[in-house]
Each structure stands twice: as C-alpha cells, then as structure tokens.
C-alpha cells in the first residue's frame, strides 16, 4: 500500500481527567480530501491540532509521510492550518499575513512577492494586498487564511471548520470552491467539520467521531448507505430506527412478529435495530405495490408534511411508525392523512445495527 499522508496510531489525548481523544487509528491517503465529522466536543479539533503540532498526544504516534512527529513543534512540521476564526494577524496587511510563513522560512523577498501574488490570484484576492484584515468581509478573510496556508505549499493542509463563520449561501459556494481548489493543487486536505452536508459535499472519505472515538471511516456513500453504528446513522442525514429481533439467516421479526428480510447474521433471538432512510421507503396505493424481492408492508398515513421540494409522511405499520420522504416530482402521487398505503423498500436499503 502507498504511504499514507498522515497516520495516527493509537493516538490518545487527555486534558486532566478529560479524555478528548481515545485511541485513534487512522490512515489518511496522499492527495485525498478527508473530513473528520462529529458534534462539538467529539475530539476532532484536538485530533487536528495534534497533527499540526499545536497539541501533543498523551499516548500514541502521529506520522506524516512516514516520519514520526513525536514532540516536533508546529513550526517544524510540513503542514499548515486554516483556523476556525481565521486567526489573521490584525496588525499586518494581507500581503504580510500571506507572506509570513515564507518569511519565517527565509525565502527571498522577490520570491515571496511572486508567490504571494500568485496565491492571492488563486483565491481571487488580487488587489487586496495592502488591506488590513478588519477591512475585509468574512468571506475575504477566509480566503486570506486559505492563501496564507496554501502559499507554503504544505504536504497536508489542515482546516478547522473554516466555513463555520460564513452565511449559508457563501458557505455552499465555498464548499464547491474548496473542493475544486483541492483537486487543482493536489494537496491532502484534512477537514474538520460538524456539518454533515459539508462533509458529504466535499470529502473523498469521512471519519465520523464521537466521544473521542472514530466510529466509522468511509466514502460519503459508504457512511450514508451503510452506517456502522446508530450514532453514525443518526448524525448523518435523517433515518428510521426500527427495533427488530433476528429470526434466522437474513430474516428479522418486527415487534408484532412480521418477518422482514434484512442482511444480518446474528443468532436468532438477538435484539437488533434496523435503520432505513426515509427516502428509501416508497409509498404505493394498496394493490399498486411492487412484488418481491421488495419488502412491502401495509399501513396508514398518520402525518403528512409538505416541504416544497419534497413531502414526508409518517406511516403506521402496526408494529412501528416509519417516515417516508418523497420527491415532489411531476406526476408524483400525494397521499392524504388517514389514507391506507403500502410502504415498500428494497431489502438492501435497510441496515442492521447492534441495538
């Protein structure tokens, strides 16, 4: 296997009695856009800071391109960071901010001017060289922070919720821009965010963290379609949880005994949770439902909510209420509350979770 850009081996970080990161093993591949996704306090920022050298692990090792970092300070690591609040130097111009890293590395004045100019063009901030940070908008400050890190041509760029302070429209535009930029410069990005949509939009792979642990690592599709734990399923997107009991190879029973196919190899009698995304549950008028191998269960619409681009229905299946989301597509049949329907899904769309 190719050498990973960043390797974390059993990395732990304790702050006094608080365990911020509990035994993390992770390889980040050279050139990928990797996101660490989790709620605040899950240890994602601490993990990033340990890669940057701004914190040191209590135990375990951080390797960057095969080199063990140990207690090497931040200024001697081949990585740069885009900070959450940008951390632009308020007393320096944009030019001085962006040139700071090169200056510290004793790069010649002419080369600094050249590289600063080029990176500012890259982030579309040409002409802003002599402004102070406070004279820039939030989006422009964000670009300066990005330019200030990128100009050093780091092997790995670390980004700590860099879009968090921007408004929604700008954030969405920047997401696509960042991804395009990453592909253009070919640098490994490690991106920390609590925004699942952001992670899904940009990442080649996502690592989901909670309580200092890495719960699952995979592509956005893998994470979304095959969540490994209940937390992952719930944190990313919307989902249904249905309590079931294993009833044989790849068959489970709902609370009322109804048998439903589900890929699971647990011994019969094991209590499990079946998770299925609302958009995978399709509603049909009785008699109009597809035949096997689709799973079909009759039920009644108990709630209908109109969201504009889609609608969701809560459907009482007897044993459990599941939510179904349907695109508001042309010609789509809309159901009314109280209407009898058949809920259907492909067996492969549902995932069995340990409780």
């Amino acid at each position: 296997m190719e050498q990973p850009a960043v390797r974390l081996a059993r990395v732990e970080k304790h702050f006094g009695d608080v365990v911020a990161v509990a035994g993390l093993d992770l390889d980040i591949v050279d050139g990928e856009f990797f996101s660490l996704l989790g709620p605040s306090g899950c240890g994602k920022t601490t993990t990033l800071r340990m890669i940057a050298g701004l914190e040191f692990p209590t135990a375990g090792a951080v390797e960057i391109y095969g080199e063990e970092m140990g207690l090497r300070p931040a200024n001697k690591r081949p990585v740069n960071t885009v900070f959450q609040s940008y951390a632009l130097f308020p007393h320096m111009t944009v030019r001085a901010n962006v040139g700071f890293g090169l200056q510290m590395q004793d790069v010649g004045t002419a080369e600094i001017a050249d590289r600063v100019g080029r990176v500012l063009d890259l982030v579309q901030l040409g002409g802003f060289e002599d402004r102070k940070p406070r004279q820039l908008s939030g989006g422009q400050q964000q670009r300066v922070a990005l330019a200030r890190a990128l100009v050093n041509e780091p092997k790995v760029l670390l980004l700590d919720e860099p879009l968090g302070a921007l408004d929604l429209k700008l954030r969405q535009a920047m997401q696509l821009e960042l991804k395009a930029l990453q592909e253009r410069v070919g640098i490994t990005f490690v991106y920390v965010t609590h925004d699942q949509e952001e992670a899904l939009t940009m990442s080649d792979r996502i690592g989901v963290m909670s309580g200092g642990e890495l719960l699952q690592v995979g592509t956005p599709e893998e994470i979304y379609e095959h969540p490994a734990t209940r937390f992952v399923a719930e944190f990313i997107g919307e989902t249904n949880f249905v309590p079931v009991t294993a009833a044989g190879p790849d068959v489970v029973a709902l609370a009322d005994g109804t048998r439903v196919p589900l890929a699971a190899s647990h011994p019969a009698g094991t209590e499990l949770t079946m998770t299925i995304r609302p958009e995978k549950v399709v509603l049909f008028p009785p008699g109009g439902e597809p035949g096997p191998p689709a799973v079909t269960l009759p039920g009644t619409v108990t709630r209908r909510v109109y969201l504009g681009n889609s609608l969701f229905y809560d459907v009482d299946l007897g044993a459990v209420v599941v939510r179904s989301r349907q695109e508001n597509a042309p010609g789509a049949h809309h159901f009314a509350e109280g209407e009898n329907v058949v809920a259907a899904w492909e067996a492969a769309s549902a995932v069995a979770l340990d409780q």
Partner: protein, 294 residues
C-alpha cells in the same frame, strides 16, 4: 406620505442629535469644572509668575515682566539636573519594562483564580503609604541595613547604596513597577492566543512569534506602561528626596527648593511649566507614533 428611508420629520432627528450632545456635555461637566479650577487656573497663575521678577529679599513682583527665568533654564546646574532626571527616569522605565513584561505575561497566562490573586498581590503595596514604604528602603539600603550586612558577608566591604543614584533607581522601580505591570497585563490578557498558534503553524519559532505577533499586539500596553512609569519617575520628588543625596538632586527636589529654599518663584514656575509642556508634547508624539504601529 414620505418616501421610504427618509425620516418623517428631519428636524426631529437633528433635535435628537443635539439632545444627545447636550447630555454628553452634562456628563463631562463635573470633570471639566474640576480640571478648570484645579489644573488650568493654577497653570495660568504659574505662567504669569514665570514672567515676574524676584526681588533681592526673595519676594515676587508681578511687574517688570521679563524672560530672565526662561534664560536661566540653560544654566549648567539646571541642565545637569535635567539630564540626571531624564537618565534616571529612562533607566527606571527600562528596568520596569524588562521586569514587568515577563511577569505580566506570567499572570495573564494563569487560570482566572490565580490571576486575580496575583493581581491583588501586585496592588498590595498601595495599601501602605508611599512615604512609609520609601523610608523602609532607607533602612534596607542603609549603612547597617540588611543589604550591607549581606554584602559584608560576601566580602564586598563598605557597599554604599543609600544616597546614590542606584538607591533612587531602586526606589523608583519599586514604586512604579505596578504602573507598568497593570497596563501590560491588561493588553496581554486581551491577546487572541490562536494568533500565536497561527504564528507557530507558519514556521515561526517561539521567539519569532513573540517578536512578530505578541509584542506588536501588546504595544498599547507597553506604551501606556512606559508613560505611566516615565512621567512620575521624571518628576519624582519623594523618592530622590529620601533615598538620594545632595549630589543626586532630581527635578522635583530642585523645583521645590526654588519655591521653599531660595524663594525664586518666577524661576520655579518657568521650570515647572516648561517641563510640563515638554512632557505633554512628548506624550502626544509617543501616542501618535504608537497608535500607528497597532
């Protein structure tokens, strides 16, 4: 109907602005009155006296206006006293800055609880009268005081500190250190520490990060501390009077002796006024240049 965005009655808006300004004037009035009565007025009297004439018997005549007192500012004795005051004040300020900066940095980076305790400790000396504390130094630095005893032990025979410039600087540093610590603390405490993280992340060593980020950003504190230390040191009266000797006269004592010693009010007034004007000009220039670096 009025167009959207234009106030219905423009006159009302102006009246509101005037009312705000009036309220501001009332708030400033007590302070302004105080300064007028007890600063500007005495100052004016001082200026008037400085052009007066001293009689042979030491009386001041407010007639025969002349510039004699201002000419005498360039006498050797006066220039020597001025240089000495300037030198000792600069020395005091520099020592205070060197001692106070790391200390203020230390305080600012402690936990909130320890920080408050340390700040209280910085201010504890103020609970005792300045005169008493300065007299205490006389004991410490005196011929049979603890310092000379220790020096004796170490084999430095006959160390004489009291009534020297060294004693004055020790006393001034001791007295004015809190005035350096507090503004420095305030500006360091306000620092955004992620800026230092950013500096380190951008290849700055600890020292480079301090010089390029921390120091410039805490410059307002440095400037405030320098002004608060330098000005009282330059015009110090009590400390040089108690710890200094006849050979180490500073401006404060010299001015005092013009009034109470030789009864030369015009000259004392001229000296006071010129020094104050110089300090004012110096402070304004310092603030202007300082404001630009931040």
């Amino acid at each position: 109907m009025t167009a959207p965005g234009t106030p219905a009655t423009p006159g009302l808006e102006r009246a509101a602005a005037r009312a705000t300004a009036r309220r501001g004037a009332w708030l400033a009035a007590p302070g302004a009155l105080y300064l007028l009565l007890f600063f500007l007025l005495p100052m004016a009297i001082l200026v008037v006296y400085s052009f007066g004439t001293r009689t042979a018997t030491g009386r001041t005549l407010l007639e025969g206006w002349n510039l004699e007192s201002y000419r005498r500012l360039f006498d050797d004795v006066v220039v020597r006293v001025m240089w000495r005051s300037l030198w000792l004040a600069v020395l005091t300020t520099v020592i205070c800055l060197i001692v106070a900066y790391p200390f203020a940095y230390y305080i600012a980076t402690r936990t909130a609880r320890l920080r408050n305790l340390l700040l209280v400790l910085v201010m504890v000396p103020f609970w005792t009268n300045f005169l008493v504390r300065t007299y205490a130094w006389r004991v410490i630095l005196g011929r049979n005081g603890p310092l000379s005893t220790v020096a004796d032990w170490l084999g430095f025979a006959d160390v004489r500190l009291l009534f020297t410039e060294t004693a004055i600087v020790i006393g001034l540093v001791y007295g004015f250190l809190p005035f350096m610590v507090l503004p420095l603390y305030a500006s360091i405490e306000r620092m955004d520490w992620t800026l230092l993280d950013a500096g380190r992340d951008l290849y700055a060593s600890g020292w480079q990060a301090f010089r390029r980020i921390t120091l410039p950003l805490t410059m307002p504190g440095v400037i405030a501390g320098v002004i608060l230390t330098f000005i009282p040191s330059f015009g110090a009266y009590v400390t040089p009077e108690i710890l200094g000797g006849a050979q180490t006269t500073m401006l404060g004592s010299y001015i005092q002796s013009q009034y109470l010693g030789v009864s030369d009010w015009p000259f004392g007034s001229a000296l006071s006024f010129v020094i104050m004007a110089l300090m004012l000009v110096g402070t304004v220039i310092y603030f202007r240049t300082g404001a630009r670096t931040v």
